[in-house]
């Protein structure tokens, strides 16, 4: 065919004839491709695609419906957070990191703060109540994150109802976050030295009620999906990646645990006092999408168990401090919600504005300049919903990080897309990517 087709122009390259599809008349394109000997088709999927889990671009080489090569294109959500943090104080850093993996903000904040505290050498001075609050918030966050993973994962495979139930549960958790921190996402709640403020009045009974409600609600999704024959056909044996593949690719989190290895940093290298909580590490031995789905499903219950234990601890620690005693590090964050809706503590304002010049200077210097952190580098890792989230921070002794790098599990795990999906059907890529549960905000940072 030699006539020019405006909808499917072709050009000859060293790789062979390349057809660009711009929409419109598919008949002529199909006809023309059918006349060539080679049946290799390269399809660009995303970055704007409803089932690629965010702005992820997949470049797929197909033979019929079989994927022969799959490559990811990322970087569409790159925001330069790591660079920006080098120009902001250590406390302001939490405001940045919380925006990376936007489904697990509290994990980002905690990993960052644990690293800063390690650099400061105050790891053991962080008050117990602050640590318990961190654990409780992280586990609630794990539930909300897994709920998005399950809900959108099911939605992308064509099951709509699980998404409704999953987002209903996520809403419960986000309401709790709003009550405690004032924000539903990106809350910058965990700060170096502790947490920004204590739980509000009456929070513990409300969280207990929410835990009870969620435990009852989880059954809805369980009955919908576990053992559902359509769901199992779409997920069993799909996205296979065994232990050797996981270790060489550096894969952690539910994908690693789906190979049967009970590797969970909360148990293996406990931080934030996780050794004092009773919970199980959930594994599967099927190395496939279904196994990862079951792991996330069952981790919900384990997170609820940890939340309950944290609440018991918090009841005993009523009135204890939530920030380190060192006033050279702790922000003057004695906030109280006033009648005007602003978060200032009138007592604190009276002190710095009316009675003590030194307090004012102290407040001003700490808030504008910030505290200094001794020279050195540390790596602090925690178990985020997606795997090992590591914060590598270098300080030169100044008031802001010299270099801050996050080892994002989403970024790393997304590399497994090729191994999981090449040789399979194009429809199964969706399930494989969804089982990795990449959050593009974390991938690109």
């Amino acid at each position: 065919m030699t006539t020019f087709d405006p909808y499917a122009p072709s050009r000859d390259t060293t790789e062979g004839t390349v057809y660009s599809v711009t929409g419109g008349d598919w008949d002529s394109l199909v006809q023309e491709i059918g006349s060539t000997k080679e049946e290799r088709v390269v399809v660009n999927m995303g970055p704007q695609h409803p089932s690629t889990h965010g702005v992820l671009r997949l470049v797929l080489e197909l033979e019929g419906e079989t994927v022969t090569e799959a490559r990811c294109g990322i970087g569409y959500l790159h925001t330069g957070i790591e660079k920006n943090m080098e120009y902001r104080s250590w406390t302001q850093g939490t405001t940045f990191v919380t925006r990376m993996d936007y489904l697990g903000p509290l994990f980002n904040e905690t990993a960052y703060c644990l690293a800063v505290e390690k650099l400061l050498g105050i790891t053991n001075d962080v008050p117990e109540r602050a640590t318990v609050i961190r654990v409780m918030m992280m586990e609630l966050n794990r539930i909300s994150s897994h709920m998005v993973a399950l809900g959108t994962g099911a939605l992308e495979l064509g099951a709509i109802s699980p998404m409704f139930f999953a987002f209903r549960e996520r809403e419960i958790v986000l309401d709790l976050f709003e009550m405690i921190t004032g924000l539903r996402m990106n809350m910058a709640y965990v700060r170096p030295g502790g947490v920004q403020q204590d739980l509000p009045e009456g929070a513990i009974p409300k969280i207990r009620d929410a835990v009870k409600l969620m435990r009852k609600n989880f059954k809805d999704n369980t009955t919908l999906l576990v053992g559902n024959s359509i769901w199992m056909k779409r997920t069993q044996g799909i996205g296979y990646l065994d232990l050797a593949g996981c270790t060489t690719l550096g894969i952690t989190g539910p994908v690693l645990r789906s190979t049967g290895l009970p590797w969970d940093l909360r148990k293996m290298q406990p931080y934030c006092g996780y050794e004092d909580y009773n919970f199980d590490v959930i594994t599967a031995d099927t190395c496939d999408v279904y196994g990862r789905f079951l792991i996330r499903m069952n981790e919900l219950e384990q997170s609820l168990r940890i939340v309950e234990q944290a609440l018991d601890k918090l009841e005993k620690l009523q009135g204890a401090p939530v920030m380190v005693a060192d006033k050279k590090i702790a922000w003057p964050a004695q906030l109280a919600l006033g009648g005007d809706g602003l978060g200032n503590s009138l007592d604190h304002i009276r002190e710095i504005m009316g009675t003590s010049m030194e307090s004012l200077i102290h407040h001003f210097k700490l808030v504008t300049e910030g505290f200094r952190v001794p020279t050195g580098q540390v790596y602090a890792a925690i178990e985020s919903p997606r795997g090992e989230l590591g914060a590598h921070i270098v300080s030169d002794g100044g008031t802001h990080p010299y270099r801050m790098h996050f080892r994002e599990p989403s970024f790393n795990n997304l590399q497994a897309t090729s191994a999981m999906s090449e040789g399979g059907m194009i429809a199964d890529i969706i399930g494989a990517v969804a089982s990795i549960d990449p959050v593009m905000g974390g991938v690109d940072r």
Partner: protein, 204 residues
């Protein structure tokens, strides 16, 4: 600012600066499992003293400073003999004032078998920013090395496809180097030009 000389620090906050972590080697015993790791590596790798420039233990973490020529060899032994099966990526650091060793690459390793961590650090001069790739040792470092190349301009020799990963393919410069301004390009709007943020003010 406001005519203050010196650091301008009148608050006493300067007093918080504690002695910087020693840049020299740490002395034995290193403590924890670090002695065992060092011993095992010495036993398995006869060129230990030649390849490992320094051993630093700081804040409960072990860092081995490796010469770049020996990086792949040391990595192989750490993976196969010492069972550090996983590499958690690579993170670049740019020290423009550290003459001859301006660019550092840091590799956090993890052993699933022994539940241990160790860190490798390689430093190279800016003028010759080449480090051998460890993708053949830990395939998962592929994207991490691409990111470090993208952000710092370190060239990982032997990488299967070293291209930019986060920035656009035709981007000029490597954004996380210290000589690259924050914001990078001046923002132009209706004739006025706003300089990059770090040239507007400094907290230091």
């Amino acid at each position: 600012m406001f005519g203050a000389r010196g650091t301008g620090d009148t608050s006493g906050y300067g007093g918080l600066v504690r002695t910087a972590a020693s840049t020299g080697s740490s002395e034995r015993p290193y403590g924890s499992y670090f002695d065992e790791v060092a011993d095992d590596l010495e036993r398995a790798y006869p060129l230990f003293s030649e390849a490992i420039e320094r051993v630093v233990v700081d804040r409960g973490e072990l860092t081995l400073h490796v010469k770049r020529e020996k990086l792949v060899e040391v990595s192989m032994i750490l993976r196969d003999t010492l069972k550090f099966e996983m590499c958690m990526g690579v993170s670049g650091i740019h020290y423009p004032t550290d003459a001859g060793r301006e660019l550092h690459a840091v590799y956090p390793l993890l052993s699933l078998t022994n539940n241990r961590r160790v860190r490798l650090e390689v430093s190279v001069p800016d003028a010759d920013a080449h480090i051998p790739s460890v993708v053949e040792v830990w395939a998962g470092n592929n994207w991490h090395e691409r990111e470090t190349f993208d952000m710092f301009g370190i060239i990982f020799d032997g990488h299967p496809g070293l291209t930019r990963i986060l920035m656009p393919d035709d981007w000029q410069g490597h954004p996380q180097r210290k000589d690259y301004a924050l914001g990078g390009i001046p923002v132009e709007y209706k004739g006025a030009t706003t300089p990059p943020p770090n040239e507007r003010r400094s907290y230091k």
